[in-house]
Symmetry: C2
Subunit: 383 residues, 2 copies
């Protein structure tokens, strides 16, 4: 497949170390990740003219461009919500490039999510009224909030927490051989998982939860033509988008008729495959956002890698691990490498297609990166 020269691609990736205590400001983390991405892409600061980050990011664009020496931004956008919007950063950047609003867009996300503002801690009522139907009744942490839908999934298909543990064992196995991972060289057994303490009994144990992390990730998105001219080892964005359905909610997704089915993911998957002209069989590696292990099961089904209720066996049968038919979260995922709001999964997708991943999958040509409500199908430069 030839690439339209004006089509947006990912030209550069960068990140800091992923840790529990960065010891420096989030602006510095954002700057370090950005410098790494610019160098990786072969772009100078003055060639960037657009930026994208999360609405939640506390790093002001103008503070960052001062830090980096970027002369100006003609385009600047932010995604809604949380990690579900990880791939929407790529969408906004690609829209800017493809519509001519910017030539090269810097995407960044950086936080001290372990050493400063921990997402896993109880929240207080918010201006969003939907939260106030639940928070005052004790649903005040993401683990509790998500567990209601995970419990329905367990009930419908007969899963126990041990089944979820089988995912964590795989993620930790990948992490064990990825030097960037916080759990590098620290694989676990299912018994270890089952010995970890309950967070929400009988649904989630500690080892089902992503790693609250400090760190920063950055990407450079530009046109294929410009990336090529800079000698960047770019990867193609074959399809990219977001999907928010009526009666959905970022976290309290309790309003759909069927709580054990990830409707947004299924609609998004259908959309992405159609746009890329691919099917789930064409995907060589899947990078699946996991704040908690059960959401991998729901997304494997929603994105068509197995039938409904079949993720338990799909994982138990070894499909997602080393040598499996669909390696999943080969960096160790957000449970094993670190939780940079899903952005580090995009970095791993790019590496797999460049052939530079720590746990490289031979001949990877197509990578699905999904955050449930936003996703990207990346394609190798020379497919």
């Amino acid at each position: 497949m030839s690439t339209n020269p004006g089509r947006a691609v990912i030209a550069g990736i960068g990140h800091t170390e992923f840790s529990q205590d960065s010891g420096r400001s989030t602006l510095r983390l954002a700057s370090e990740a950005s410098i790494a991405a610019l160098r990786d892409a072969g772009f100078a600061s003055n060639e960037i003219d657009g930026s994208v980050t999360f609405s939640m990011d506390t790093n002001d664009e103008l503070a960052l461009i001062r830090s980096l020496g970027i002369p100006l931004l003609r385009f600047s956008a932010r995604t809604r919500g949380g990690g579900g919007g990880a791939n929407a950063t790529v969408q906004l950047a690609a829209a800017a490039v493809e519509s001519g609003q910017a030539e090269a867009v810097l995407i960044y996300r950086a936080f001290n999510e372990r050493s400063q503002h921990r997402f896993g801690q109880p929240v207080r009522p918010s201006p969003d009224p939907a939260w106030n139907w639940a928070v005052p009744f004790g649903l005040d942490t993401p683990a509790k909030i998500y567990s209601l839908t995970f419990q329905r999934y367990m009930h419908d298909f007969g899963l126990t927490n041990e089944d979820f543990g089988r995912y964590t064992v795989v993620a930790r196995d990948w992490a064990a051989t990825n030097p960037n991972a916080q759990f590098f060289e620290r694989p676990i057994t299912l018994a270890d998982h089952q010995a970890s303490r309950w967070i929400v009994e009988p649904i989630l144990r500690k080892l089902d939860c992503c790693l609250e992390s400090d760190g920063g990730v950055a990407l450079v998105v530009t046109s294929a033509e410009r990336a090529e001219a800079h000698g960047a080892d770019w990867v193609d964005i074959l399809a990219n988008g977001a999907m928010h359905l009526r009666d959905g909610h970022e976290m309290f997704n309790y309003f759909h008729d069927d709580l054990s089915w990830f409707d947004e993911g299924a609609s998004l998957g259908a959309d992405l495959y159609a746009r890329a002209g691919l099917t789930p069989d064409d995907i060589d590696v899947a990078m699946i956002y996991e704040n908690f292990s059960p959401i991998v099961f729901q997304q494997l089904e929603a994105f068509g890698f197995c039938g409904r209720g079949e993720a338990r066996d799909f994982i138990a049968d070894g499909h997602i691990g080393r040598g499996g038919s669909l390696p999943v979260n080969t960096n160790g995922g957000l449970l094993g490498e670190g939780y940079i709001h899903g952005m580090n999964n995009i970095v791993e997708g790019v590496r797999q297609l460049r052939g530079t991943a720590a746990n490289q999958i031979d001949g990877a040509r197509h990578v699905l990166v999904t955050a449930g409500r936003s996703g990207t199908i990346l394609g190798a430069r020379n497919r």
Copy 2:
């Protein structure tokens, strides 16, 4: 000039009343404005598949689509910062349409900015470090923050507060004949202005400040082809963009070498004119964001309507009022109609080009809408 059928246009406009006390939730304001914009464009709820609002907006996209019956969003984006991003909403929506990420985008902005969260009240230190260079020293309201640069402008060009008053008199004159304006039928004289109390002496009086307001504004952006097919009375987006310069800041714009020159506006203006193939002489109406009256003077100069330091005479000579060479803020502006973070100025720009403004300028074909750091040149459908 023929319009590329895939090019984005503004197909619909909608708003609530502008008041000091809406008496209802911001979600309801956003919904009412959105319904009005959809009806105006001739679009059904299920034809919208994208959304744009401000990062600061407290109305969650998913709450709004539930309220409106919109089945899904494939694209969702937010602008950075405050009212300086008003026209960036159109930029993000246009980028979505022109890149194929969405077919029709709903833009909304709604708040109870007078009856609930008043922007004019003192702020506390923020996570943005730049604020903390100034807030602890007493620069804790927008009026105080902006006044430092306004004072430099007064010093450099010999203006007094009376000069600023001449702008307010014009704005209130336009507002007096606009039934949507909060100051409908309430014109003032320069003596009235000079009798209003000081907010920041000797720079700003109360009548130099925008109207803290409750209300909502919505727009529908889609392709020219789709707008035409729906029978919408669309207007063309001839050029649109944002401009953030290194060493700039959303409010504390103290880091540029020259504090009396609005560098972002000048760069943005040059960019917009070049893209539209127009000059300042081609602009029939200018809608200029004014949190405070002096910023109109700075933008008149930055966007090339008069030379540097000449805005005082340009305004005193009657250019911006009724019968003037460049009617400015014909709705009464944010001082006279209401402060909906600049979004109501876009609505007025569309009305002028449709020929439906309360203070219609005969034969208006090109309208510049500027919020200083973001701007749009709108063109009449049949120029």
